[in-house]
């Protein structure tokens, strides 16, 4: 496993979601991409071909492990069995990033398969911080925390979402995974200014960006990872790059999965914008 990023390497870096249907093509064609990302939970197995493919692809590419079920915002204790499985996977794959979400999904031992919203209060901050610290200690590495798409807001919030994320960074030393599509979707659904959101986040804490498509068929936009990145999200991405500099960027695609080339083209677009807008020297 020789492929990894140096912290001094500021070149544009883009990745795409790795799906079963891409395995063979990736190993045969070795596409020009800097990394792949997988959902950790799909590889928490004792064996099987998916894990073998991932290990084979890891020989040629850095891998980012993206989780959806640590449930860091739950009031109940972290699931130790799940953490152990994640740690085993980390030891097998040696990922360059490990991430999960600003959300909750487990209560009373029941797992609700969605990224459920937490109110941004002091109480939630303590719960989230304690869990992030515990997970980071157990895994012996920092986690990246991703802002989720949101469909409801809490009138009694004591922090805005970027304020809450900033506090988590301060309290735990975690890093952020900024999903630009999620900012856009949430800003539409909850009526806030996405540019102001970016301005509220501190510099030097974002280690990955996600880009994806969303569904606009209803009154509320739905983050579905099932289509091209919309133009408004690309515009917000440019602003993100201007503010934060070049950051590894992933094209996420989880539904209606197209040919790998479609994702690679989107990734090339992101690479082009990183070069054009993401100059560290000119970052604010």
């Amino acid at each position: 496993m020789t492929h990894s990023f140096s912290s001094l390497d500021t070149s544009a870096k883009v990745g795409v979601s790795l799906k079963h249907c891409y395995y063979e093509e990736v190993l045969e064609d070795k596409p020009n991409i800097n990394f792949f990302e997988v959902h950790s939970e799909n590889y928490m197995s004792e064996g099987g071909s998916s894990l073998a493919w991932l290990e084979a692809i890891r020989e040629s590419y850095p891998i980012s492990l993206h989780g959806v079920s640590l449930s860091l915002g739950s009031t109940q204790d972290l699931n130790k069995v799940h953490l152990k499985k994640l740690k085993n996977l980390i030891q097998k794959i040696d990922p360059f990033l490990v991430s999960d979400h600003l959300s909750w999904s487990i209560i009373n031992g029941i797992y609700l398969n969605d990224l459920l919203p937490i109110p941004y209060t002091k109480e939630s901050l303590k719960v989230m911080s304690d869990h992030i610290r515990e997970a980071q200690d157990f895994l012996s590495r920092p986690l990246l925390i991703e802002n989720p798409s949101s469909y409801l807001y809490f009138p009694k919030n004591e922090f805005s979402e970027p304020q809450f994320l900033t506090e988590l960074v301060k309290k735990t030393g975690c890093k952020l995974l900024l999903d630009v599509n999620n900012i856009y979707v949430s800003s539409h659904n909850n009526q806030f200014d996405p540019n102001a959101y970016l301005e509220e986040l501190p510099l030097n804490c974002i280690e990955e960006i996600h880009l994806a498509g969303h569904n606009r068929d209803h009154k509320f936009y739905i983050d579905n990872h099932g289509c091209h990145v919309q133009e408004e999200v690309w515009e917000l991405y440019k602003k993100t790059l201007k503010r934060f500099g070049r950051i590894s960027t992933l094209i996420e695609w989880d539904d209606h999965i197209p040919e790998l080339n479609v994702l690679l083209e989107e990734a090339e677009k992101a690479r082009k914008y990183q070069i054009e807008y993401g100059n560290y020297e000119t970052a604010a």
């Binding site: 197995s45 959806v68 079920s69 029941i110 109480e123 469909y151 009138p155 009154k219």
Partner: protein
């Protein structure tokens, strides 16, 4: 922690009882609250129903879209996952189908087969036995041979003839016929990375199952001949080695 826990309890109950107003009280007045809440509720149900849809395609075909949709909704409501690792979700579905559709008793067996195909895909990998090893064993030790199977092994025994319906489905036939009440036997096994599903005769099933249980070859052979005195040992053993059923062979020192 009380407020946050109360909110999460309310959210959970609201999702499973479809009573969002309880939650609304917990977090205050929110415009268009129900519509917003339903996005989360729908996500939870549809994502879990999709897991079952992917893992039980033949059950879905037999039941039709509407009934499958209904039973998966009820299953999710009654048996939500207990882990974020959904590779294990659906284990209880067979039992649920048995209770939900008593008039279709074969559905339980079919769903168990479908579950086994999923489950063994993720079990520990194994390296098949080199058949040459058997040929180096002295003939007088054959009866005492015992065999290890891969971790990913599942024996299925049903009172219904499942082979035809299974093969029709795999051939993507538009309609599948209900199986007859004739027993059927099969073995789902994953040597290396490929899941194999082999239909067996009763005596072959008995022989292999005994070997799987750790019985020596001589005893397994004897049991198989009770079912069919013409049981062909060398043919069955040959198939088992070709299909890579075994990972290890040893000489039993019992007796």
């Amino acid at each position: 922690m009380k407020q946050l826990h109360k909110y999460q309890e309310s959210f959970y109950k609201a999702i499973f009882t479809n009573k969002p107003p309880l939650l609304q009280d917990a977090i205050g007045e929110v415009e268009e609250f129900n519509e917003r809440f339903n996005i989360y509720s729908n996500n939870v149900f549809s994502s879990l129903k999709n897991v079952l849809k992917d893992d039980f395609p033949l059950c879905r075909k037999i039941l039709g879209e509407q009934k499958f949709n209904q039973v998966t909704f009820e299953f999710v409501r009654n048996f939500p996952p207990e882990s974020g690792c959904l590779l294990a979700y659906g284990q209880k579905f067979s039992r649920f189908l048995e209770v939900f559709f008593p008039a279709l008793p074969y559905l339980k067996d079919i769903s168990q087969l479908e579950w086994a195909k999923k489950e063994i895909y993720y079990r520990e990998d194994s390296i098949p036995l080199d058949p040459q090893i058997i040929s180096t064993t002295p003939e007088d030790k054959y009866e005492a041979l015992t065999f290890k199977f891969p971790e990913a092994t599942f024996f299925s025994e049903s009172s219904f003839s499942l082979q035809e319906i299974w093969e029709d489905f795999e051939k993507e036939k538009e309609k599948v016929k209900a199986p007859k009440t004739i027993p059927s036997y099969s073995l789902i096994i994953r040597p290396r990375f490929q899941v194999k599903h082999d239909w067996l005769k009763a005596e072959e099933f008995c022989f292999l199952k005994k070997l799987y249980e750790g019985k020596p070859l001589g005893e397994a052979f004897e049991k198989a001949t009770h079912i069919n005195p013409d049981f062909n040992l060398s043919e069955t053993l040959g198939i088992a080695l070709t299909r890579e059923y075994f990972t290890r062979v040893e000489v039993s020192h019992e007796n």
